[in-house]
């Protein structure tokens, strides 16, 4: 059994130089989501199914609105980075993987902006 790899085999296939940043950001967002997740859940279970007026009333107050915005922001960043790793692990084929990574990178950033916009609109206009 050969444990040696040819230099040729790894040449040019080294680190993309952004792994550490990804690792740190994934954990920073995880830490942020500990308090934000609990706080958001608390506001959300009070508002879900309670009618439009209650939802507007809840998220037009600064603290619930800020909690929801921070939660949405951190959660979608965490989700995007987590799914990125899942895609890198399970999707084979360079083109298919690249396609999935591009869609992943765009869709969750877009969703985060939609969420922040919606909550801000409620907070500012109510």
């Amino acid at each position: 059994m050969s444990f040696l790899t040819d230099y040729k085999r790894v040449a040019g296939l080294g680190s993309a130089k952004s792994g550490t940043e990804h690792f740190i950001e994934q954990r920073l967002s995880a830490i942020a989501l500990i308090p934000l997740g609990v706080a958001f859940l608390y506001t959300f279970i009070g508002a879900l199914g309670a009618g439009h007026e209650t939802v507007i009333e809840t998220y037009s107050r600064p603290i619930p609105a800020l909690i929801a915005i921070m939660f949405i922001w951190a959660m979608f960043a965490h989700l995007r980075m987590g799914l990125q790793v899942v895609i890198e692990d399970y999707i084979s084929g360079e083109r298919a993987r690249m396609r999935a990574l591009i869609i992943n990178a765009l869709i969750w950033r877009g969703a985060a902006i939609v969420g922040v916009f919606a909550i801000a609109k409620i907070a500012f206009l109510a």
């Binding site: 059994m1 444990f3 040819d6 040729k8 279970i45 879900l48 949405i72």
Partner: protein, 128 residues
Amino acid sequence: MADVNRGNRPLSPHLSIYRPQMTSILSIIHRITGVAMSLAALLITWWFLAAASGSEYFEFVDGLLTSWLGYLVLIGSLAAFWFHFFNGIRHLRWDMVVGLGLGESARSGWAALILSVVATVLTIILAL
């Protein structure tokens, strides 16, 4: 590269020949819950967008989320949230090189499982 030797190097252990363990099963569930919650993330974002759009459209989306199918998805996501939450704390402790022993990681795994069930039930009671 035609001369690359790929045939006789040791391969990573295949999951199918590995006996399932507390740590491996919870690691897989951590991934599954994380991926599954992306649906709830989109639903909640849609719910906020509907609330910002007006009461008529909001009642439609809120009605979908509070239908039996909506509740099924949301309660499943709630359980996923609490598991991912407690197991995530377990991972953060490991990142600080705390609790990595075999016995410790099995115990913290049980703790994460039990706490997530308790927190799920408590959240549902609180929401009622």
